[in-house]
Every structure is written in C-alpha cells, then in structure tokens.
C-alpha cells in the first residue's frame, strides 16, 4: 500500500508533480549532455584514430601529423624498417600536398593525399574504383567545385611558379571514384592519388618522401612497445600512439571537460534541491494526515518509505524524460558544433555511451532518494499529539 499511497499522493497535485518532473527532466537532460560532452569527444576522437586498425602515427620528429609541411625522407627504407618491427602488421605511407585542378575559369584548389591504395586508412570509397597511376578519387565537395563526374579527366598541378606564371607538376588524371575522407570535413575539397604519382608530380623535393606513416599493429595488443621500437629504429621521427594522441587532444580540450563537470554537478544539485523542495512542500501540506496515520498505528518506517518512494518516483520519471530530452538536445547541439569548419566529419562532440549515461542518471535517482530523506525524517519525527493539537486549533 506504500507504493499505492505514494503514487496517489503524487497524482493528487498532478500539475505540480508534472512541473517537478519537467524540472528534474531538464536537470537530467543537462547532466546527461554534460556527461556525453565530457566523454564523447575523447571517445569519438579515439574511435576516429583507431579506424582500420591504425594505432601509431609516425611524423617528422617534433611534429604532429600534418601540423607542418615537414616530410620524412628515404621513405621506402623507413617503410621496410617499420615493417620489420615486432607487432607491426602494415605500414601506410601518406604524402600530403595541395593540388590545383585546372581547366575551368578559375583553378580549384584542393588537398591531396598520396597513398598506397592497398594499405590506406584515409578514405572510404563510396563509388567507382581506387586511384591508379593516372587516376584519382575525389570528395563530393571537390566534384561539386569542379563539376566533374566519375570518368571525367582533370588537368591537375601540384605547384605554381609565380615568376613564370605557370603551373608545375601537371598531369592529366581520370576521376576513378568518389570517396569520403576520414580525417577531413564533408566540405573539404580533397583527392587521393597513388603515392608514387604525388611524389613524381612534386619533383625532386618530394622524391621518396612522405608526410607520415600510419602503422597498423596486432589487434588487442598494446602498441606501446612497437611505438618505442619505431622511434629507436628511426631517430628522425616521432611515433604517436592513438592513446598518446587522445591524451594530447584531451590536454588541449581539458577546459571542455572542466566546464562539463561543473555544469553536470550544478544540474545534479538543482535536481536534488527541486525534489527536496517538492517533497517537503507536499509533506507540509499533509502534516495532519501523517499525524493521524501515525496515531492509528502506521509505523515510522511506512511513512519514511512512502515519502522516499515519492522522491524516487519524481526522480525516475524525471530521469526517463531527461534521457529523451537529453538525447534530442545533444543531437541538436552536436549538429551545431559539427558545423564548425575544418572538423573531421566523423568527430562527435556528444556521444551517447550507455554506461556513462546510465551511471549519470542513476546518480540523479540516488540524489532523488537522498532528497526524500530529509522530508521523510521530518514527517516521521512528528510529535503526534502536539501535531494533532495544532491541527485541531488550526
């Protein structure tokens, strides 16, 4: 009967209960969003880097991948050296450059990657075939900008000589496919060509050079040993594991986590105070009834349980509504934040992780239980005869 009485007491002032549930739902939604924000970027970034099993990035010493235009020389030898290291299963060399697509009224500039199509993790082919010596795959943004389609031939150059006012490293290539580039935003104009093609188009400056190596290691084995071995074998490179890259990103975005933590804590406190207030008001209104219940032999524990159940009911309903509201608002905020230029398409700011989300909501429900304890204790501690006397006078 405790559950029935608790439910009926909440239903007695339906509009007040509804408003309280909405208030808790807003707190829960904010808490959930903050948890999703605090953990989402980290997970999303780690997931992005870990795609296709590449766990180590090797870049010129002292740089992060594509942070500068520095390159690694003697790339073929370096590839062989890395492949010999225990735990390494594949090495994907990547050379980044800027290309100009000529032929139109204005040349279109794009970012190009020279890759080994057999071992690459930079793009996902959506349509057509991969790059060959005279073919490239392009992003939708580049296809839109050039008006090209699969099968069309493009006049591409990798440099411009301002004195001669001519493009250098020109080559006519066929668009063999359409691709989504993993580490670029959907609006980035991008193309992937064979590594040898990009190196050849770049001339002597780019011969046998790469911007970075992406290294795939044995699954489910800590790549740290392989990372250390790479740096030992190639003294002029920096090898960065996914965990290291995530830690670096986390360090740079630590203010996001702190803000999320503070706002999450505020949401939790607001939810707690809201439930305490509503249950206290409800108990104060029923002080006479509670005194009568105690007088006719209803135990303190019954009174405490009933009131705590009311707090739990408000918290549970608020948490359930907050889960839905939180997911909607996270999706909306995510779409806004993902619209920032230059962000990889696969990065999410708010990532729903059931474990973290349900832990946060469980914390809210626990705070709801705690919120019911004070008014319950007050109600159960009523001096029965004095309360009845005051009620009779009142």
């Amino acid at each position: 009967m405790r559950f029935q009485l608790a439910a009926l007491s909440l239903r007695r002032h339906a509009s007040r209960t509804l408003l309280a549930v909405l208030g808790v739902a807003v707190s829960a939604a904010m808490l959930l969003d903050m948890v999703m924000l605090a953990t989402g970027m980290r997970q999303s970034f780690a997931s992005l880097l870990g795609r296709n099993g590449f766990t180590i990035r090797v870049s010129p010493r002292g740089t992060l991948p594509f942070d500068t235009e520095a390159t690694i020389g003697q790339a073929r030898d370096a590839t062989v050296a890395i492949e010999r290291i225990a735990g390494v299963t594949a090495v994907a060399p990547v050379l980044g450059t800027t290309i100009h697509v000529l032929g139109g009224r204005n040349p279109v500039t794009a970012f190009a990657l020279g890759v080994d199509p057999a071992v690459q993790g930079d793009y996902q082919l959506l349509d057509g075939r991969g790059p060959t010596s005279n073919a490239l795959v392009a992003s939708d943004a580049l296809l839109r900008a050039t008006g090209a389609r699969i099968g069309d031939t493009l006049d591409v150059a990798v440099g411009f000589d301002p004195q001669l006012r001519t493009y250098t490293g020109r080559r006519r290539v066929v668009v063999s496919g359409r691709a989504r580039f993993t580490y670029l935003s959907a609006d980035d104009r991008a193309a992937a060509l064979q590594l040898a093609s990009v190196q050849a188009m770049g001339g002597a400056d780019r011969t046998d050079r790469v911007s970075l190596f992406m290294v795939r290691t044995v699954p489910n084995v800590d790549p740290e040993a392989a990372r250390v071995a790479i740096e030992r074998a190639l003294p002029r490179v920096t090898a960065l594991s996914t965990a290291g890259a995530v830690a670096e990103a986390e360090h740079r975005l630590s203010y996001f986590r702190q803000l999320a933590f503070i706002l999450g804590a505020v949401s939790l406190i607001v939810g707690f105070l809201l439930v305490t207030t509503i249950v206290t008001v409800s108990v104060n209104e029923r002080i006479g009834e509670i005194a009568i219940m105690r007088a006719i032999g209803v135990s303190r524990s019954h009174v405490v349980h009933q009131i705590v159940i009311e707090g739990i009911g408000l918290s549970l309903a608020g948490a359930a509504a907050g889960l839905i509201l939180g997911l909607f608002t996270a999706r909306w905020l995510n779409s806004i934040l993902r619209g920032f230029p230059g962000l990889p398409d696969a990065i999410d700011f708010f990532l729903f992780q059931p474990d973290s989300a349900f832990r946060a909501l469980a914390l809210l429900v626990v705070s709801g239980i705690a919120a019911g304890i004070y008014p319950a204790w007050r109600a159960a501690s009523l001096p029965i005869s004095a309360t009845l006397r005051e009620e009779a006078v009142g």
């Binding site: 009926l8 007088a295 005869s385």
Partner: protein, 233 residues
C-alpha cells in the same frame, strides 16, 4: 463497573513546555475503565480532556504516573512498540475525520489492516463488512471528498474498528457534524457499545455525553466528578 479494569490511569501528569513555562495539561488523574464501558469525558475547552485521551491511546506519554491498557504499561513502551500497540488494540476517531483523501472509503478502512499485514482478501471482506455495519456499503468506492461529513465520520469509525481494537477512543466525534448526522454517530456508538465495544469519548456534545453510561467531568487538568448514569433499556 465490573471485572478487571481495561484501562488504568494512575496519578498521571502531563506537562507541556510553552514559552519557557510548563503548562500542566493533566494533573494527577487516576481512573479505571472496565471492559464494555461507555465513558464520556466532558469539561470546558483546555481542561485536558484530549490530552487525557491521548494518554489513554498511547499517542502521548505522561510526564509522571502511568497508563496501563489491558495489562500493558503503555507509558513505558518504546515508540515502535507503542505504534504497534495502537495499531492492533486501539481505535481512534477524530473530530475532523482525517480520512486520506487519495483513498476510497474502502481503502481508508483497509489501511490499518494493510499495516497489520492482514491478507488482501481478508481485509477486503472485513472492510466491506464494516462498511455494511456503518451503513455505507454503497459508498465503498467513493473518495472522502464525495462523502458528506456524517458519512466521512462513519467511515472513520469503520477504519477505527478495522483491526478489532479492544477500545475505541473518540475525540469530539460529533464536533463538526450537524444535529442529524451527529445523531447518526451517537446511535452508531450506542450500537457499538451494545455489541461489546469499550468506548471513551471526549465531547462537548451533551447528547453524546448523555448517551454514555458514565461521565467524567474535568477542570484544569483534574477529574472533578466521575458519575455513572442510569443504564437505559
């Protein structure tokens, strides 16, 4: 009076602190109430009637002195034990009925039985039986707000009888009723007493006091007169 006293009060005092000064609500009251008696406690407002009733019902404890009900010294019970004792041995009826507004008449009657862990089917049957006893079978599914004052008080009486108490204590049970519905309650109490229930009522209502078999007069916290009335046919 005949037989062993059911209620026994010995030199009971009850003081309340009020603005730093003690208020002597009950001063040295001693009385016995036998099984099957129908006692009315009367007196002016503030004379200690309700406080004495609370002592008799183990709601309150005397500052000094003792209260024994059916051989149990209730004034020495722990709060938990006193609560259990009230649940199973004492029926309370209050001036303002105090039914739970969210429950139907039948559910209000079932509440003390649910607390006493009476099985569901048994408490349903008992609640219907009691509703029949107080003449409200047709009102079983009505909530208090849908009942008249007299009907609410009859439901409150049925609730008080739910766990088959050994004594029914009533504090101004006709205080908020008009003459006709008050008369119904008086008739119900009379019937209860004829059926063997021990009744102690605190009242200002002369008709209700006149229906009792014994009237205790109080003034300033003391019993000033204790008179048996002629038993009517």
């Amino acid at each position: 009076m005949s037989g062993q006293p059911l209620l026994l009060v010995r030199d009971a005092h009850r003081d309340y602190p009020h603005s730093g000064e003690p208020v002597h609500a009950v001063r040295g009251v001693s009385l016995d109430v036998a099984q099957g008696e129908y006692v009315a406690i009367v007196g002016p407002s503030g004379c200690g009637k309700s406080t004495l009733l609370n002592l008799l019902g183990a709601i309150d404890r005397p500052t000094t002195g003792g209260v024994t009900i059916a051989g149990t010294a209730v004034s020495t019970l722990t709060d938990k034990a006193a609560t259990r004792f009230r649940l199973t041995n004492i029926g309370f009826v209050f001036q303002r009925f105090y039914l739970l507004p969210v429950l139907t008449a039948q559910e209000n009657i079932e509440l003390p039985m649910a607390e006493a862990r009476v099985p569901l089917a048994e408490r349903r049957d008992r609640a219907r039986e009691l509703l029949g006893y107080v003449g409200l079978t047709a009102r079983a599914d009505h909530r208090p707000a849908e009942l008249s004052g007299g009907e609410q008080q009859r439901v409150a009486i049925a609730r008080a009888l739910a766990n088959r108490p050994i004594v029914l204590l009533a504090d101004e049970p006709t205080g908020e009723l008009d003459a006709r519905t008050g008369g119904d309650v008086i008739a119900l109490f009379d019937r209860l007493n004829r059926d063997g229930m021990t009744l102690v009522v605190v009242t200002h209502d002369e008709k209700l006091a006149g229906a009792a078999r014994r009237v205790i007069h109080m003034l300033d916290g003391r019993v000033i007169r204790d008179e048996p009335l002629l038993r009517r046919a």
